[in-house]
Symmetry: C2
């Protein structure tokens, strides 16, 4: 019996040490990424003509991956596959390549996010330790989950969401606890490194008034959750649509984001606003308090799916926050819930639907908006998860438990 | 594609309807149980001589189960086994029997809880619908999880914890999402029924000051979590110890709680205080603000394991809250964290360790104490989970992912 505890203590100390190493590295990378992304975003906002460089930026991004990064081009899906079936160490260059091309995408005004970048940097940095430390397959799985957790936690400032996201993302419909302790450690270490050591903070959101749970508010929240799920599915399908279209029509990969860039530049110019460029954090913040045009979420789906589908780089998640928050904002037209609550529910709900990670997203909502809204956030995330279908933004996800059919009878 | 959504909508409406039915019934049962438990507890407190009826009460509890309840005597474990491998409908009498014997146990001053009772009432009520509605095995699994979720949620006023607890409790080391939507619905319906319709509320706890996360506070929280896990294990082992001892020494089952009752009556009289009788809610509340004797948690482990191990009825969870909160209180002797924070961490941490449900317990902590303490609560629950071994309070739990060995390589 005491042997068990000594074994666990060794396990704990080993992963605590790894978490400090991995967390310091990934938290620092996230801090650098967030600061440079901030600088890039401001620079682009002050030089709106940069959108005309979208085709050139696209060429650079496309060429970089075509000539130097074919073995890391699958990005998040590559990490997910390695967690499912460990085969090949992630090349370390995944980290500089995704960092550089994400910044390029944002510099020229592409509509993209940052979590994919942080997660890929995290995975590449974590897996870097596999060979020198001679880790076996199980250790490597744990290490990769630590990397994902650390990247996610530090880029959003949400360590609990990062912890569970890493355990939840590889399979649809289940969470396994191999890495629960290492994942929590690395999330904390990376978040601490980013926020405390490097003093790089995160946007604060607030849901001031949360109505008491009544039967009508619960039913409205369920309806909102269903709609968030459908929109999460629409986003995933749009991205896959553009991606398939460009792949089938343009055989030379570096040309795809060039064509995408031409289209994007013309359309951004035509809409005459920069609110759909980049991360769109100011719009997300506004959506918690001011009434916005109802079509904002549709425009953001269009621009982001075109940006990413044509081959630009970056994450999907901040645009999903944008889409969800502005959609929640739009839903106040007929759903009688407070604007901030619906924006917050959409923020995590659309992401939960598109990524199939309802528990991580509920925890993220609680970490960002507080526990008062917890039930509403959970309803949004779980309903969105149920209604978003099986094909989310991560095509490598495997289905462990189906959402709408009899799951197989082997319950273990 | 639209077909999918229609399927999900049917699934959702079916389980929403079931959740309303099941939630109304279970929430009402919990409300009645909580009110009668309250009455019983007050009556016992005003008539301290009732502890001398422990042997007689024990005889009644033992005889009731021996002559009328052998097929429902396994209680929570029976529900867990049916979720793992559905075989036999839970006899409805599980509900009145556990209700009656729990109240009897509390009337004569046994040290026991209420979650086992609520969960068993929930399971029995939910499974009651299986036959008339001709549910298949998968439906039945979902129904049983709904019952557990509803019972847990309504007896503690924590719907999110109830939702996840039901998904987490049958297997150690994983959560599967078959029932995530039905479980959330029934938790909300039962909690609403108990709190809003019947106006039966719950004790409020508060953690007023949560220190900023620093490296020392994180390390102290980890250490506390380890200790909570070891104490959770000690509790489970003590209960099994008494249970095995009584079973091996006394062949006639109704006699076991009689002998246990004699021992308990003498020992309760000897310690000369009623603070270890019953649920002990006032002591739990005190432990958040006042310094208590350091040995309180050891005494509560002793009295509760003897009460339940000798055959009295009731849950383990509120005593585990008591044990954890008073232990957290005691840890302030050498861990420099605020008393309310350590009490709250122990409250959920010891339970997480003993029940192997770290995510449900983290959510419970957030629901009861707010999101500010979320990281500390998660550290307590996850560390306690890691250090509590594989033999928790529910002997029927199966191990899906081991805590301290190489898990099997089949990751699915």
């Amino acid at each position: 019996m005491i042997n068990q505890q000594i074994f666990v203590l060794k396990f704990t100390l080993k992963w605590l040490l790894m978490a400090v190493l991995v967390g310091l590295a990934i938290g620092s990378a996230s801090a650098f990424f967030l600061v440079s992304l901030d600088w890039t975003t401001h620079f682009r906002e002050n030089h709106p003509w940069l959108i005309w460089f979208l085709p050139l930026g696209g060429l650079a991004v496309g060429a970089i991956y075509h000539y130097f990064g074919q073995d890391v081009a699958k990005g998040n899906n590559q990490l997910i596959e390695e967690i499912q079936h460990p085969e090949k160490t992630i090349p370390f260059k995944m980290m500089p390549l995704i960092l550089l091309t994400t910044l390029l995408t944002h510099l020229v005004g592409g509509s993209a996010g940052r979590e994919g970048t942080a997660v890929q940097m995290g995975g590449a940095i974590a897996d870097f330790f596999t060979k020198p430390l001679k880790f076996n397959d199980l250790d490597r799985k744990i290490l990769l989950m630590m990397g994902i957790s650390a990247g996610f936690a530090s880029v959003f400032g949400t360590p609990l969401a990062g912890t569970i996201f890493a355990l939840e993302v590889a399979f649809i419909g289940k969470v396994r606890y191999e890495a629960i302790l290492p994942s929590l450690f690395s999330a904390l270490a990376a978040d601490y490194t980013c926020q405390v050591i490097w003093q790089v903070g995160h946007t604060q959101y607030g849901i001031s008034a949360v109505p008491h749970l009544t039967i009508p508010t619960i039913l409205w929240a369920m309806l909102a959750g269903i709609l968030f799920g459908l929109v999460g599915m629409l986003f995933a399908k749009s991205t896959h649509f553009w991606s398939n279209l460009f792949k089938s029509k343009i055989t030379y990969p570096p040309l795809r984001p060039v064509v995408g860039g031409v289209l994007l530049a013309i359309l951004f110019f035509a809409v005459g606003t920069s609110k759909y460029n980049g991360l769109g954090v100011p719009v997300i913040v506004e959506s918690f308090s001011e009434k916005l045009p109802f079509y904002d979420f549709l425009a953001k789906i269009f621009f982001t799916s075109l940006t990413l589908g044509s081959g630009f780089k970056g994450g999907e998640v901040t645009p999903l926050f944008y889409i969800g928050a502005t959609m929640g904002n739009a839903l106040t037209n007929f759903i009688p819930l407070p604007i901030a609550l619906l924006a917050g529910m959409g923020f995590v709900g659309v992401f939960a639907g598109a990524s199939n990670t309802p528990i991580a997203c509920t925890l993220m909502g609680i970490e960002l908006f507080g526990a008062d809204a917890a039930i509403y956030l959970a309803l949004a995330c779980v309903m969105a998860y149920a209604f978003s279908g099986h094909a989310g933004i991560y095509s490598a996800q495997k289905i462990a438990v189906k959402k709408y059919q009899e799951p197989d009878e082997t319950f273990l």
